[in-house]
Each structure stands twice: as C-alpha cells, then as structure tokens.
C-alpha cells in the first residue's frame, strides 16, 4: 500500500511557495508534511496531505505544474537505529531509492521514499516486518 504524494514545480521566485500553501488551505486541505528541494533554477515541493486528489485538482486549476506520485511511507518505532535498519534492508534488497525524507506524525517517526521498483519494495516491506503508515 502506497501513499499519494503531490509534487509542485516552482519557479525560484519569492511568493510562489506561499501561494501553494494558501491554495491548499483555502480549499480546506490539511497538510501532513512537505519538503522542498531546489536547484539554482527551480524547486520541487513535495506534499503529503489529507486529500491528495483534491489537492491535485485545486493546484492544477490554479495553474501550477503538478504531478501525483505513489510513495511508500513506513512507521518507525522508538528503537534506536530503526531508520538505519530500514534503509539498509532496501539497499540489501537491491532497490534503488530516488529520494527519501522523514517526519514526525502523531508522535511516531515516518520514513517516506520513492522507488520505481514498486513490487520489489512491497515484498521487502513485508519480509522485514515493516509497518506502513496510515496517514
């Protein structure tokens, strides 16, 4: 089971990110987490929220360049080194991860990653007893 993530392409111009969040909050969409990656020329803002379908449609309507992506979200329990273990098991399982980020959700660590090898990832998650996050 994967989570739908919304990615927004942004110009490196002040105010463009604020407009994304304003658009979402005006539509009554609750943000779960967001990350921003940028180069000299542009930025990509990745968003998890309570209603990705609606987020996608309101952002498109506002004229943003938006893409919906399936990502994995894993709950990490409190044991130290749990994130390292999880990442190691993907490396050993031979799947390549295009990006990864983590955040705290309802008191627990959540690790989000994107891979193009979806089936392999599903199998690895099951085999290693990892728990998928319910966001």
């Amino acid at each position: 089971m994967t989570v739908q993530q919304i990615s927004v392409f942004l110009e490196n111009k002040s105010g463009s990110l604020a407009k994304v969040f304003r658009t979402l909050s005006d539509a009554g969409i609750q943000l779960i987490t967001s990350t921003l990656a940028d180069t000299a020329d542009y930025g990509v803002c990745r968003i998890l929220c309570d209603n990705p379908e609606k987020a996608y449609s309101v952002l498109s309507k506002e004229g943003f360049s938006v893409t919906k992506t399936e990502v994995f979200a894993i709950v990490l329990d409190d044991r130290p080194g749990r994130a390292a273990d999880a990442i190691a098991c993907f490396a050993e399982g031979g799947i390549s991860i295009s990006y990864l980020y983590s955040f705290l959700y309802e008191g627990k660590g959540v690790l989000v990653f994107r891979t193009s090898e979806m089936e392999k990832a599903v199998a690895l998650i099951a085999a290693n007893g990892l728990v998928e996050a319910k966001l």
Partner: protein, 367 residues
C-alpha cells in the same frame, strides 16, 4: 511609407478613402495604410475566398478572437466572414472564459486565432473541464500572424480536434487574405489576381531560382488608395515548386522562415526564433510558450531560453527534469550552433499577451 507618414503616398484624394489602419510595427515609426470602399471590398473578397477554400460555408458560425482595433485580423476577418455569409461572433481579443462560453452557447464551428492563443484556449478548456471534441462544434481554425512550425499546427489540431489552416497577410497589403492554405495543408496559395509575387535575394535584390528561399516582394494589382510596387515584405519564404493537387493555379508560398528583421545575430550567427520554436515543439512535456532573452555577460553575448512545462511533465522526477533541459540544450545547439541556457518554468509563468506573443527580449549592451 514611414517617410511619408501619414498620408503622403495616398493615390486618391482623402475624401475617397473610408478607412485607415496604422501599424505601430516592431521596428520604429508607424505606417498608415489607406483604403477606399472598393479596396475594403476586394480585401474581404480575397479573404472570403480563402475561407471558402478551407470549407467555410454560410451555415457556419465564425468566431474571431482577434483584437478589433488597428490590428487587421479583427475587421479583416469580420468583413470576409460576413461576405461569405457566416454568422459572425466578433468576440475580440482576450477574456478566454467568455470566448469558451461563446463556443458552447453559439455553436461556433470556425475560429480565427493566433497560434499562441490557440494553446491558451486549450489550457483554459482543460481548467474548466471542457472537452473541445465533446463540448464544442469547432472544426476549422485559421491561424496566422505569428510564424509557427508544422509541429505547432499538429499540436493545435490534436488539442482542439479541428483542422488548422495557415493564413498569411500583412497590414501593408490590407491584412489577412494575401495567401492561405488549401485543404492540402502544403503551402499557402497566394492570390495572383491580386498580387505579383517575386522572391529575391535580400542582399543583391536579384530574383532567386525557383524553389529557393528569399525575401517576398509583392506588387498590388487592384488597390486604389495605396497601390504598392515591388514592396519588400521582409518575410523570408520560398515558392513551392510544382502544382498543387487541389487544382488551383495560384502559386504556393512555403511557411514563413522568419523575417529578415527579426533575425537574431548572436556571436555572429544568424538565428530565427522559428528555429527555436521548431525544436521546442517536438517535446510533449513542454507547453508552446517560450521566451528568448539575450544578454551581455562579461562582454559576451548570452542567450537564455525559458520554456513552460506542459501538464504531461513529471515534475516529481529530478533526474528527468535535468535530462530534459540537457536534451533541449543539446538539440538547440545542434540547430542554432550556439549553446543557450535552458530554463524550465511552471506552466503559465511567462506573461501572456493578447496580441502577437513576444518571443525575443534583447537586453544586450548596445555599443
């Protein structure tokens, strides 16, 4: 024409003229074109004939998205469409939501638009959940005023589900209706009962051999108020050799290759914006708007091409975005022999113009 501004080269008394069109032009002083009542009638006739050629009939509903001021695409198409007997919707430029409402409410079948506006119409249709094939009766579009590539035409046809025909004209020769594509969509028939056509080398002014590119030179045959003899249009094109399968004998002009005056000279290389457009139009992940900016960086010429992503671009994938700009850079370099900086923009980031799109911004130091 500029030297005698405004009325110096009128060939009939002003009281016999009924209209003037003035072009601000992109290079310098304005020009004025005067028309007698007969001139307007002839102009409408040439353009009505063009519209008939691509299948327009009196039962059609014609919507004109051109500005109705001095821009000849407004009144020019208006009179021609009325002469043909179509029901006309003189919508004028801009206000895209209203244009779409007219399409659906009035059952518009034929529309006149500049190519960049055709893309804009589609963009707003998508936002509004309008499917042009399902929700409109559009079937014919006349596109002109901006040079565009075959790929751009195909894209417009695909997006809007209609046939798009290239229209050529210039205000000095009245306006649209000088030449127009037939249903073969291979070259624009130039109306030789209205114009004598020559293609010359812009440097030597000698005629070029048939089929070769040169500057289009026109002589008007039946204008009263302002006949022009061997007028240098600055448009670069060629005559397509051979006969058109449609049977018309009027010579065919190839797509405009650019203008001898919108040519960019960068690091000593001649570049036409149409070359850039032709490359960009090959990418499904790009929208049709782009802007070329020329700058002086450390005393060197520098070119930046900004282009908008289309809704098909996967903006989550960094590697893909990087490869995309690299690939565009390489293809542009192969075409224009200069390496530009390519900047990807979110869709809608470039300023929209209601008239002719601005494609080149020259900010270079002038010496």
């Amino acid at each position: 024409m500029r030297d005698t501004y405004p009325f110096g080269i009128a060939s009939i008394p002003l009281d016999q003229c009924v209209r003037l069109h003035s072009s601000s032009g992109t290079t310098g002083n304005p020009t004025v074109v005067l028309h007698s009542a007969k001139d307007l009638h002839e102009w409408a006739n040439a353009l009505a004939r063009s519209l008939w050629m691509v299948g327009c009939r009196p039962e059609d509903v014609f919507q004109n998205t051109s500005g109705y001021g001095m821009f000849t695409g407004g009144l020019g198409f208006q009179y021609a469409a009325e002469m043909l007997g179509m029901l006309t919707v003189p919508a004028g430029a801009g206000n895209t939501l209203r244009q779409l409402k007219f399409f659906t409410d009035f059952g518009t079948t034929v529309v006149h638009a500049i190519p960049s506006y055709a893309a804009r119409l589609y963009e707003v249709m998508c936002q509004q959940g309008i499917d042009p094939r399902r929700d409109t009766k559009l079937k014919i579009m006349a596109i002109g005023a901006e040079p565009h590539s075959e790929d751009t035409r195909k894209r417009i046809e695909e997006m809007l589900g209609l046939k798009a025909y290239n229209s050529f004209g210039m205000s000095e020769m009245c306006g649209p209706g000088v030449a127009f594509e037939c249903k073969e969509q291979n070259g624009m028939h130039i109306w030789e009962d209205y114009y004598i056509v020559e293609i010359v080398d812009p440097d030597t002014l000698e005629p070029v051999p048939e089929g070769e590119v040169g500057e289009l030179v026109l002589t008007t045959l039946n204008r009263e108020a302002m006949p022009l003899l061997r007028y240098r249009t600055r448009d670069l094109t060629r005559i397509l050799p051979g006969k058109c399968p449609c049977g018309r004998e009027h010579k065919r002009l190839d797509r405009m290759k650019g203008r001898s005056d919108d040519m960019i000279i960068l690091k000593g290389v001649n570049i036409f914006p149409i070359q850039i457009e032709t490359i960009l139009a090959q990418y499904k992940d790009l929208a049709s708007d782009f802007l070329i900016t020329l700058n002086t960086v450390e005393d060197n010429d520098d070119m930046t091409v900004e282009v908008e992503l289309s809704e098909l671009a996967n903006v989550d994938d960094y590697a893909y975005l990087q490869n995309l700009s690299k690939d565009i850079t390489r293809k542009l370099r192969d075409e224009i022999l200069v390496t530009p900086k390519v900047k990807l923009l979110p869709k809608g980031a470039l300023p929209r113009s209601e008239g002719k799109a601005v494609r080149v911004k020259d900010l270079r130091k002038k010496y």
